[in-house]
């Protein structure tokens, strides 16, 4: 398999994540979408690392991203809980205080 295959998977994952962010009505799904996009990036890192002339740099980036993603998940879940108690819902369409 060549680099193209990996990039294609990554692209597909990215697109799926993006779609999730844009169309889903549930914040949890949106968070999942974000995770998918991050992982699409991870795939790229690892794939380019594999086919490039680097040592392990891509992997290191990917691990860094994973840890970041975990931290982000923690913060995001806390936000979600707060949003839920504020709006009694976790649909982003109802959380429109940004308008003010």
């Amino acid at each position: 398999m060549g680099l193209g295959a990996y990039v294609a998977v990554s692209g597909a994952l990215f697109a799926l994540g993006l779609i999730a962010i844009l169309v889903r009505r549930n914040v949890i799904y949106i968070l999942m979408g974000i995770e998918m996009i991050l992982n699409a990036a991870n795939i790229n890192f690892v794939a380019f690392n594999r086919f490039g002339s680097m040592k392990l740099d891509g992997q290191m980036f990917a691990i860094f991203t994973i840890i970041l993603a975990a931290a982000e998940a923690a913060v995001a879940l806390a936000i979600v809980l707060n949003v839920f108690y504020l709006f009694d819902s976790i649909k982003p369409s109802e959380a429109d205080l940004l308008r003010e």
């Binding site: 993006l18 962010i21 844009l22 169309v23 949106i30 982003p92 369409s93 959380a95 429109d96 205080l97 940004l98 308008r99 003010e100």
Partner: protein, 824 residues
């Protein structure tokens, strides 16, 4: 005709059936409570079978002993062994813990004693506990207790013994707390709730020491089987040049710690008087005849492992306990409290006997004591039952005509415990004192501790005779005082020259110095943390008598009168009068004292009579020379000797027999002298005690008051049980609570505080970033915003506040940018 020869193949099955019967009874009783209308009778029947079996098997032991055969059986003879805790294959197989049954002379004697006593207690309980709300649970628990005690006697190794030992502790906890579940029992209701806990925790301190002893022995010997332990100890000492290594001394001390806890020796004796909160049959069974004797039994099993140092400690602790408990016994007015201190004192005799080298004497006294003390307690139960749950001897008197059978049994057993010749206790107590004489008469074994022990034991024996006859005279002689409502105390108080009632009565009263202070401190320390309710409850719970008795007053004095304990502590007068509560048959309080005391039903008195007979004959029913009472060997001495207990080899190592003709002669001479001295001393002390009691309580009733007045503070100290409960409260318990709150504080403030600080630091960083964001960045943005307000008006249409829409715009922008980049 059944043969009296021991047959391992069948008899071990019988032995296994012995503990199995009460166990099955327990299970049936618990699960079929409602569907088993005569569960109590069935259980008692089962216990009857147990009694017959144990006596039958014990008779086999005696038969063998009189035939001169060695009677020492392990169930491995019959192939009955039970691998319990396995270790693994890579280590020696010795590491596996195998359980078996050990049936030796001591076990045979003890098993028969337990069988007889528990049958009598079951029988007695049918009458005594009748009408109790938790009647069936009572029977279930006492059966499980019997199972544990029988199992303990049959255990062939230390860990199994420990298992049953702890199980008995748990059953003791449940049975002491029996009344704490029944709101119809206002007096016990308050006392039993904490007495059971106190008993369990105090003995657990000793149990943990025993556990540590087990660790040490397991670590060094890798076996816990008694027979192997004895042999290993002998080898170890031989390898160490005839001296006991230090670690073995420590192990011995730890094992003795278990005895101190379970057999209520100083200073862990404090639980036993409070254990009287349980129903009287429980006191008779657990806290007089069997469980507390288990500590002495343990010493008998472990005797070859005890180094001379340990034996000195054992001697001193036992003798001290015997003497000091006897002194307290002379000052109590609560019928059961007298017996409780008497039990502690007699256990001290047994322990001291073991320490003095008279292991057989100690075991013998344990056996006879089980008979007569169980009888005394059951008689006391019968009196209490007859007097409608009054326990104060000042409210009794003259009962000998109203309760003749109870009186007869109690008198017999009092004669026995006092050591009057020809009664059971005489033989065994005589042996104990003889052991002391034997030790100090021989120049090689003489030491100061033994001399002290001998003096203390003699004095304690005199006191025993004194307080037991005091009990008899106060209870059964004179006029019945239960109906003298108004003046019931005046005569006694004047005679005693004391104010205030007996501290053993758990009544609220006025004069209480230091103890109260300690308690109050505590209550306040608590109150700071947990509010008043907690402090109050705690004082109630974790402190000895004094704290309990004084709680109402103490809190009133400190302005807490409105809550908790103060409310349900009865008014002092009431508390003095009524020691107990409603009995279902007899209706409310008010009527109690109108009733005349009556003799107990047959089912109770039969049990008394059986034990009373054993109180007479328990010491010597198998005398070989009945005509020579004083010099003959009682049955126990024939059955149990160091040789039959531990085998030839170990016994000769423990107590070397004299070698050579001159030495043998010398030894025989010594033994004869010791026997004669013991005989004289024990007769004199018993006579003195009884005589004093007659003088004080029958002839010149004014004397006790004058003596008390003369003694003054010293008397008060004894009456307050030497303030030991208060001392424990002020030191051990206070320290425990201080440690607890200190560690709780650390947990909440230091450890969790650290965690919270890390969280707060992160939060602070967030807030700081937000402030920076607001002032610096937002400031700049605001400037721009002013300019962009114009544009804003135009773009407002786009501002929906929906994140997803924003994201869509962003993606659209990105796509456009990408398209431009690619196309351009």
């Amino acid at each position: 005709m059944m043969s009296l020869a021991f047959d391992p193949a069948t008899d071990f099955k019988l032995l296994l059936a012995v503990p199995a019967i009460p166990l099955v009874g327990y299970v049936l009783q618990i699960f079929l409570r409602k569907r088993l209308p005569h569960g109590d009778k069935l259980l008692t029947l089962g216990m009857f079978v147990v009694m017959c079996l144990t006596v039958y098997l014990g008779a086999k032991g005696l038969h063998a002993a009189y035939a001169g055969e060695r009677f020492f059986h392990h169930s491995s003879e019959a192939g009955l062994e039970f691998g319990w805790l396995y270790s693994t294959g890579t280590v020696p197989a010795a590491q596996n813990l195998v359980m078996g049954v050990l049936y030796d002379p001591l076990g045979a004697a003890m098993l028969a004693v337990v069988g007889i006593v528990s049958f009598c207690v079951h029988l007695f309980s049918i009458g005594y506990v009748h009408g109790d709300k938790r009647y069936s649970i009572f029977f279930a628990n006492i059966s499980l207790f019997t199972f544990a005690m029988l199992g303990l006697v049959l255990a062939d190794n230390l860990l199994v013994l420990f298992i049953f030992w702890e199980l008995m502790g748990a059953m003791s906890y449940l049975l002491i707390g029996h009344f704490s579940h029944d709101p119809g029992q206002p007096f016990f209701h308050r006392w039993a709730t904490w007495a059971c806990k106190k008993a369990f925790l105090t003995t657990r301190v000793g149990d943990v020491l025993l556990f540590v002893g087990i660790f040490i022995l397991w670590d060094k010997f890798h076996t816990l089987r008694f027979t192997e332990l004895w042999a290993a100890a002998k080898e170890t000492v031989a390898a160490n040049g005839g001296e006991f290594p230090t670690w073995l001394t420590w192990a011995g001390l730890c094992v003795f710690g278990g005895t101190v806890g379970k057999s209520a020796q100083f200073p862990l004796h404090i639980w036993l008087p409070d254990a009287m909160a349980g129903p009287t049959p429980v006191s008779a069974m657990i806290h007089a005849a069997t469980m507390v004797a288990a500590g002495v039994f343990l010493l008998g099993r472990m005797y070859p492992l005890l180094s001379p140092t340990v034996l000195s400690v054992v001697t001193v602790v036992g003798a001290t306990t015997a003497l000091f408990a006897a002194t307290i016994g002379t000052t109590c007015y609560d019928l059961k409290a007298v017996l409780a201190y008497s039990t502690i004192s007699q256990l001290g005799f047994m322990v001291a006997a073991v320490g003095l080298g008279g292991v057989v004497a100690g075991m013998f006294h344990m056996t006879t004591h089980a008979f007569f003390k169980a009888c005394l307690f059951l008689s006391a139960g019968s009196v209490i039952h007859g007097c409608h749950h009054v326990q104060d001897m000042r409210l009794m008197g003259g009962l000998r005509k109203k309760m003749p059978i109870t009186f007869a049994c109690m008198l017999i057993c009092t004669l026995a415990i006092a050591g009057v010749p020809y009664f059971a206790g005489f033989f065994s107590k005589d042996e104990v004192i003889k052991a002391g004489f034997l030790k100090i008469l021989d120049r090689r074994t003489f030491d100061g501790w033994s001399l002290y022990a001998l003096l203390a034991l003699s004095l304690a024996a005199a006191l025993t005779a004194f307080y037991m006859f005091r009990l008899i005279f106060l209870t059964f002689y004179g006029e019945y005082r239960g109906n003298q409502k108004q003046h019931r105390f005046s005569a006694m108080l004047a005679a005693e020259g004391v104010e205030g009632p007996d501290p053993n009565e758990h009544a609220a009263h006025d004069d209480h110095g230091a103890a109260h202070g300690a308690h109050d401190d505590h209550g306040h320390a608590h109150a700071q943390d947990h509010g008043h309710a907690h402090g109050d409850e705690h004082g109630h719970a974790a402190h000895g008598h004094a704290a309990h008795g004084h709680a109402a007053h103490g809190h009133a004095a400190h302005g807490h009168a409105a809550h908790g304990h103060a409310k349900h502590a009865p008014a002092p007068k009431v508390a003095h009068v009524v020691h107990a509560e409603k009995h279902d048959e007899h209706g409310g309080h008010a009527e109690h004292h109108a009733h005349e005391p009556h003799e107990s039903p047959l089912v109770m008195t039969v049990a008394l009579m059986i034990l009373g007979l054993l109180g007479i004959f328990g010491g010597h029913f198998w005398l070989t020379e009945p005509q020579n009472v004083f010099n003959a060997h009682p049955w126990f001495e024939k059955l149990v000797t160091p040789t039959t207990l531990y085998g030839e080899e170990i016994a000769s190592w423990c107590a070397p027999e004299p070698v050579g003709e001159a030495a043998v002669e010398h030894f025989e001479h010594l033994e004869h002298a010791a026997h004669l001295d013991a005989l004289i001393v024990s007769s004199i002390v018993a006579g003195t005690g009884i005589l004093l009691a007659i003088l004080f309580y029958l002839v010149w009733p004014g004397i006790p008051g004058r003596i008390v007045a003369f003694l003054g503070q010293a008397y008060t100290a004894v009456r307050r049980k030497y303030y030991i409960d208060e001392l424990v409260d002020a030191t051990v318990l206070k320290l425990t609570w201080k440690l607890t709150y200190f560690q709780k504080w650390i947990d909440e403030n230091v450890i969790d505080g650290l965690v919270k600080t890390v969280g707060a630091l992160n939060k602070f960083l967030g807030v700081f970033a937000a402030l920076f964001d607001k002032i610096v960045i937002d400031g700049a943005v605001n400037a721009v915003a002013l300019a962009s307000q114009v544009f804003g008006a135009a773009f407002r249409l786009v501002q929906t506040g929906r994140i997803q829409q924003y994201a869509a715009f962003a993606v659209g922008g990105a796509v456009l940018t990408a398209a431009w980049l690619i196309l351009a």
